[in-house]
């Protein structure tokens, strides 16, 4: 069976799942048998995330280049794009999921917490909630 991959030309559909690897122990919490992402997992880092938050088409793809494998979470691309619409005013955050390789994409339009702290923290909080539902 062919593993899912990103189509760099056509982009990522709203229905497609994307996976984000946990790189730090504080990026997730374990509640019984359930692992939940924390907002910290979705804070953009100055050096590591020049283009956005990294995601992959499968858990294996997003962990392939990592020496530490702590787990992963998954999100639906359309929910990332719609995130923010539940806020007062109903305007999305304007995030998108854009592939740059068949095995890598960036969640773009995520500010660094020192550039726009209110938006960065709201996005991190919402992405953690979205990730925990799948």
């Amino acid at each position: 069976m062919e593993l899912p991959s990103f189509n760099v030309q056509e982009g990522i559909s709203n229905e497609q799942l994307v996976f984000r690897a946990f790189l730090r122990p504080n990026w997730f919490e374990v509640h019984g048998t359930e692992t939940k992402a924390t907002p910290v997992a979705f804070l953009r880092r100055r050096d590591r995330d020049p283009d956005g938050l990294s995601v992959g088409p499968t858990a294996e793809a997003c962990q392939a280049y990592l020496s530490i494998k702590m787990g992963f979470c998954k999100l639906v691309a359309g929910e990332i794009r719609r995130a923010g619409e539940t806020r007062e005013g109903g305007v999305s955050y304007g995030m998108d999921v854009v592939p740059d390789r068949i095995d890598h994409a960036n969640i773009i339009n995520v500010p660094h917490r020192h550039e726009n702290p209110e938006l960065a923290l709201a996005i991190a909080s919402d992405l953690a909630k979205i990730a925990n539902e799948h």
């Binding site: 504080n26 907002p39 910290v40 007062e88 209110e118 923290l121 709201a122 909080s125 919402d126 539902e133």
Partner: protein
């Protein structure tokens, strides 16, 4: 009076600061049990700075909190405790690129204190109300005082849906 609120958990001690009786440390992160009894308080007691340092735990070198972030956080929290004799158990304490991020969560409300690594960036106090498990309303206080932190800790416990 010591009030303990399960699941999300807060503790209010009207007689002043209380000591930590247990610390749940997990690789640089403090997590609270879903129905904790007493896990952590920041108070004006002499050892509170030591408790705070212990609570930070370990972190990767690139994430370890700077002294500036530690001092800022401790000043705000100990000041808030003196202002309101209030102790509220954090949901998490994180170190990210030298910053400290403390998160308090209870019901539909979340409060985050962001203490930056460097002096050139002011601390931030972020408040959030969720509806249907999504962020509905937020606001941010730039360079908050200890009193504003105390007010925000009270806000988490009150029954209002206002920011």
């Amino acid at each position: 009076m010591l009030l303990t609120v399960p699941a999300g958990a807060a503790e209010v001690n009207n007689h002043g600061a209380i000591n930590a009786t247990a610390v749940f440390r997990q690789m640089g992160r403090i997590t609270t049990p879903s129905a904790g009894i007493v896990s952590l308080s920041f108070g004006a007691c002499p050892e509170s700075k030591g408790i705070f340092e212990a609570c930070l735990g370990r972190a990767a070198d690139e994430d370890a909190a700077t002294d500036h972030a530690k001092n800022t956080t401790h000043q705000l929290i100990s000041g808030a405790t003196r202002a309101d004799t209030l102790s509220l158990k954090p949901s998490s304490i994180d170190q990210v690129e030298g910053d400290i991020i403390i998160r308090w969560q209870h019901g539909a409300k979340t409060l985050m204190l962001l203490s930056p690594a460097v002096e050139t960036v002011a601390p931030k106090l972020y408040r959030e109300i969720v509806r249907g498990n999504r962020v509905a309303r937020t606001n941010l206080i730039d360079n908050p005082s200890a009193t504003q932190l105390a007010d925000s800790l009270r806000w988490i416990l009150d029954g209002t849906a206002e920011l």
